[in-house]
């Protein structure tokens, strides 16, 4: 296992765990803290992909400005006035679970059927003449990461397949 793959898995694991923490924590202050960590790990992944500008802008805009505003509002609000986070509202919870399952399925399908450069390159099932393929190829040519990482990153973002589907449905990506 190359070292940058190990680093990527570490960053990705922390990012996903912190994202779960944002949703699962009872205290909104803790949720904001988890969100900072998530943004940092995503910025680090951007740096690994050679997108330093995106990483810097992510840290400036999200971690530096938006989350500070979130904390600002949280400090103005009495925690006792906030509604319960994890009880009641069955309809909203059901809808949320359903949408989450759909998203999970989409990402899973994207990972399973995607045409990655590398060892999964032979598993092409659908040959679409869309620009996603060229985009991915150009991205693959310029990134300093090994092919599996690139594949997992694209899969984790889920952007290529969903872009395809959105384009087919006529919706703006």
């Amino acid at each position: 296992m190359p070292w940058n793959l190990i680093i990527f898995y570490g960053l990705a694991a922390v990012a996903v765990l912190c994202a779960i923490g944002v949703v699962a924590s009872n205290n909104p202050m803790h949720a904001a803290g988890f969100l900072v960590l998530t943004f940092f790990n995503v910025a680090a992944i951007f740096v690994m992909l050679g997108a330093e500008f995106l990483a810097a802008v992510q840290v400036i805009v999200y971690a530096g400005a938006i989350l500070v505003l979130v904390l600002f509002v949280l400090m103005l609000v009495d925690p006792d006035d906030l509604p319960e986070f994890h009880s009641g509202r069955p309809v909203q919870r059901a809808v949320g679970l359903l949408l989450g399952a759909v998203l999970f399925l989409q990402v899973g399908v994207a990972i399973a059927t995607g045409r990655w450069s590398g060892r999964r390159a032979t598993r092409r099932r659908r040959t679409s003449p869309s620009s996603a393929a060229t985009r991915r190829r150009s991205a693959a040519g310029s990134t300093p990461l090994p092919a599996p990482v690139r594949g997992h990153l694209a899969g984790a973002a889920g952007w290529d397949r969903r872009r395809d589907r959105a384009g087919a449905a006529g919706a703006p990506g």
């Binding site: 803290g33 500008f53 810097a56 400036i60 971690a63 530096g64 500070v68 400090m75 103005l76």
Partner: protein
């Protein structure tokens, strides 16, 4: 990210060493990004001490830093337009050239071509580091001492170590971007002299901080916000427009 000597390579005991750790092509943005995270210490510390005064200090810090960060970032845009790069090293190398105004030969420091941006940057930097006259988060006369009321001994010392390190870092940033960094008489012949020039300039800025603190009274809170949004932000936008206009005229792309 910030080079400490005017040459890219310096020789120490016969070894050729880079004068910087990494030359990021978005180095200036990188510094701004990490400078904007210092406020988390204040906000979380204020919130965690469960004290009304501390909480008010944290609120003030959040509002103040978010407001002045915009001004701080925008005041550098003029420099980026002149240097045509976000890399701190390129900006520094641009300033080692010579500016000729008639018979006068001056170093091409950006404080000469961007005086308005320099003044605004200094004001925003002082506000960003929560020093007087912008030390509303710890205003002793109103909030006891704001966000660090509940912290004593070692924790208090860490707050102040952080604040002073932040001051040194902001001074280094200002010196590198506006005052030519290690550029000075003789720095192109021997790199050690450049390091000395850099340290002297930083010490001047630190002196300036203490000087201001002893000279100016603290702002009122509405004055603080009014200066950031009604005075500094329009001025800094005007500076960007003027700089871009001069640049276009200079390139012959306009008029």
């Amino acid at each position: 990210v910030i080079p400490i000597a005017s040459d890219a390579q310096v020789s120490i005991f016969g070894f050729e060493v880079n004068s910087y750790v990494a030359d990021l092509n978005v180095g200036a943005l990188f510094l701004l990004a990490f400078g904007s995270l210092g406020v988390y210490g204040i906000i979380l510390g204020a919130y965690a001490s469960a004290n009304r005064f501390s909480l008010l200090g944290g609120l003030r810090a959040a509002a103040q830093v978010v407001s002045y960060e915009i001004v701080l970032g925008l005041s550098l845009v003029g420099i980026f337009i002149y240097a045509q790069s976000l890399s701190v090293r390129d900006i520094m190398l641009e300033q080692t050239q010579i500016l000729r105004i008639g018979p006068l030969e001056l170093p091409n420091w950006f404080i000469l071509s961007q005086p308005l941006a320099f003044v605004i940057f200094i004001i925003a930097a002082i506000a960003e580091t929560n020093r007087a006259p912008f030390d509303l988060p710890e205003a002793e006369s109103e909030l006891v001492s704001g966000f660090h009321t509940e912290y004593s001994a070692f924790r208090f010392s860490f707050y102040f170590l952080g604040e002073y390190i932040n001051m040194i870092l902001v001074s280094l940033f200002a010196v590198t971007l506006f005052l030519g960094g290690p550029d000075g008489p003789g720095s192109d012949r021997f790199w050690g002299l450049g390091v000395i020039w850099l340290v002297v300039k930083i010490l001047f800025f630190l002196f300036f901080y203490v000087w201001l603190r002893a000279t100016l009274p603290r702002f009122r809170y509405d004055q603080l916000m009014g200066i950031a949004w009604k005075v500094l932000l329009p001025l800094v936008l005007l500076n960007i427009v003027i700089t871009a206009f001069i640049r276009l005229v200079g390139n012959g792309q306009l008029l």
